[in-house]
Symmetry: C2
Subunit: 477 residues, 2 copies
């Protein structure tokens, strides 16, 4: 009982709901207080989104979800709470009223965070019974997925808050001095302001602005941020060189646009020293490769979602797709590809599950050859794999070019058996084999059934032609 | 012969080298012209990075790499080129001299792009023999991975340039009106300027600024950009609501910082209409789920690289990791987890290769139990899987909680045979089985050998205890 922690969520909008979900899915009990009669529905919607996404970030078992309740009053909500999070509208008078009520009823040991994006802690604390108890804990939407939290306030309180946030998987960042809009929102405001000008002046549309970000520097920022990216641009000479090289030429458009701090030797040294402390353990060459591996992995992830830069890659693949194998009376070359970084494991070779992916993709090519393609699937029929027997013969490494040679062993009615050999193209080395059994199914009934029409004719013809070939040498009987 | 295209790269630094790599790896021949005696080495280094990353973005076979050569003169480089890309230093007089020389020797049909980040095409074209031939084609580093290119110049020329860039997998974006620093660099400058102030005023370090970006809004921008993200923040009421809601409160810090366009009804309508055209085909609920799926997929990709927000997730997994199974005389619960979005395939169920991953991870837990862990591997010994026979019994869906029950069938000397059952936890349904054969190997000789010391003792004891159990009911003999 003493172990079970409770968070009080004051204000159940998108941000409050996100906090509630983050705590609940990390095993905390949550009490929500919001006068809005729609609060229950709104929190429920955010929680539904969180339940389908946050647990999937974990590769181990996730904590048992905490208990969610809605309090009749603010007093009731905060009475037993360990963490109290205020996400009320951005009006200082409203927040002051809420903090007064909270402090009347909460434990003096409770942590009271505010989701404010603009106010400084000194403003929030005005007139409070225990000012040091109140601090800024500024999250980013969606709160249940994005981990960073800006903490601003009294250090002793923030250190306790940091421990709590670490425990629920977040990335607390203690801001050294209070400032309007903390850190991140200053950047967001600067970009928003530029974006408004670009639209007003007819330079770019919302779509074009979004595209220039998500197909470009947004991908860099998602994994390295600003300074580590520029450190790479400076090359082996480092940040001092970057500033020396780009400072003067960038100051030209800058000074036309607005005020900028003078790049004195002192400021240059400060940036360079901080960058050394941050990234100096990696050479520029190492940073380049880390960056490239991150970009490839992220873009491949977006490929799976067919979104943004991943959608572009898929379109490019379609354009470069080789024709389907022709000539059904010889083994089929079903696949040719490069082994990417996200397929590697800790042994320094391709993870064994990826062999399954290669063979699954090779099987899909046989499907496409006989017309069991996306359109056929959309019509409610498909082949499902019943079993795979994979033999691992040789290791496969990053960047290897491989191809798959496939032979149809059996194709009768709803049963289809394929034999795949995965071969390293450079030296013709056999890397792995797969004996794949597929069954034709109705996607409606989820039961096996005969293929239909042209697919039946084609798979039968393919099976007959291939059954006359000698069995692959690598096949064990 | 007439099909083979040639790009002339004028200036072989990081940007020029990136262009060279992008063209070469998409099958173009490339001629580099650069007076720097180090140009060959520099282009070679960029090309080495590109070769290990760009092909991995493709899931089909990649084009045969083109021929790379270095020209003795600019005249020689551009003589037969279809595309000429200038990436010289950012000085207008230098660029004018280069364009004059290029136009003296190139085909009038060649496309002449400039990588300039600051100059407008009207400035580049000053005094040119054929001004309409010269345009801005501004890329982002690394050019071989990031696809967006800002195109500014004469429309007819840009339409031809766009076709070429589409063909090499890029995302050309035609800028409607010329402006200093085009589009993206205006954002980069605005953020850079804010960052300099934050460092100078002691608010944040380079590390803290990078962290607030890459653990926060940088992840949003990598997949949706600015406006689609804010459209979601506005909720079902859309962009007009967002601007109405956040306009007034944001204008407060804005106006203290700098000039901002007035949010007139006209500007509000313009933004809202453009946003409708861009994203109106999705409801806000759909956009939220698309965003969340993208974020999960990207963060899971970074997990694989143990970097940024992915490093944080790995640390959180370690904290939440369940203890290793104890009690060796009963079947082992080796794994429990949720099925994530990036494991789904087009049939709407878990891709068959991911079963292999589940069983591979379950096998790793047995390894950890007997002490064949990361440290043991670092010492040069490990188990490799020789074969897997996977039986697929039931479909697995997004968000399913599953666990794996593992039985050691045989553990003698270097040979280890495991039998895994993957079970849906909610209803105890058996989803798949795997008969996994592993062999103990020396990572040095890459040959099989006996396990050593405590690992040998533990695996033998585990094998003996488990061999007394009845065979799993699902096992086919």
């Amino acid at each position: 009982m003493s172990e079970q922690k409770t968070a009080a969520i004051i204000g159940g909008g998108v941000i409050g709901g996100g906090w509630a979900a983050r705590f609940l899915l990390n095993g905390w009990d949550v009490v929500v207080s919001d006068p809005d009669p729609e609060a229950k529905r709104k929190v429920g919607e955010v929680l539904a989104n969180a339940r389908r996404s946050l647990p999937a970030l974990s590769d181990v078992s996730v904590p048992k979800e905490g208990k969610l309740s809605f309090a009749a009053s603010l007093a009731e909500a905060v009475a037993g709470a360990d963490w109290i999070q205020e996400s009320a509208p951005e009006r200082l008078d409203i927040k002051h009223t809420i903090f007064a009520e909270i402090q009347k009823h909460c434990s003096p040991d409770a942590l009271i965070g505010s989701s404010t994006s603009g106010f400084k802690p000194s403003e929030l604390q005005q007139g409070a019974a225990r000012p040091e108890q109140i601090f800024v804990a500024h999250p980013f939407n969606p709160v249940y997925l994005l981990p960073v939290i800006e903490l601003v306030g009294v250090e002793a309180t923030l250190l306790r808050a940091r421990d709590v946030l670490d425990g629920i998987g977040m990335k607390p960042l203690i801001v050294r001095k209070e400032i309007d809009a903390h850190i991140a929102d200053r950047f967001l405001e600067a970009v928003w302001r530029e974006a408004l000008w670009l639209i007003k002046d007819g330079i770019a549309t919302t779509q074009e602005i979004d595209d220039v970000i998500r197909y470009g520097f947004g991908m860099r920022w998602a994994q390295m941020g600003l300074f580590e990216t520029y450190r790479i641009a400076g090359g082996e000479a480092g940040m001092r060189h970057f500033i020396a090289q780009f400072g003067p030429c960038l100051s030209w458009p800058w000074t036309k646009l607005m005020d900028v701090p003078e790049l004195t030797q002192e400021l240059t040294d400060m940036i360079a020293d901080q960058s050394d402390a941050q990234s100096g353990m990696h050479s520029i060459r190492e940073l380049e490769r880390i960056r490239d591996d991150n970009l490839v992995a992220m873009m491949r992830a977006l490929k799976g979602r067919n979104w943004g830069s991943g959608e572009l890659l898929n379109a490019h693949d379609v354009r470069n797709k080789p024709p389907l194998p022709t000539g059904i009376d010889k083994p089929l070359t079903t696949l040719e590809r490069v082994i990417p970084i996200d397929w590697m494991d800790y042994n320094g070779h391709m993870n064994e599950s990826r062999y399954g992916q290669v063979f699954s993709d090779a099987g899909d090519v046989v499907m496409a050859m006989v017309g069991a393609d996306q359109e056929y699937i959309a019509g409610g029929l498909s082949y499902f794999t019943v079993s795979n027997e994979i033999g691992y013969l040789n290791e496969t490494h990053l960047g290897d070019v491989i191809h798959v040679r496939t032979q149809v062993l059996e194709a009768r009615g709803k049963k289809l058996r394929l034999y795949h050999e995965m071969i390293r193209t450079a030296d013709n080395e056999l890397l792995a084999t797969c004996n794949q059994l597929l069954i034709h199914v109705s996607l409606e009934t989820r039961r096996s059934c005969e293929p239909e029409g042209e697919v039946l004719a084609k798979i039968t013809a393919l099976g007959e032609a291939q059954s006359k070939l000698p069995k692959p040498a690598s096949m064990r009987d």
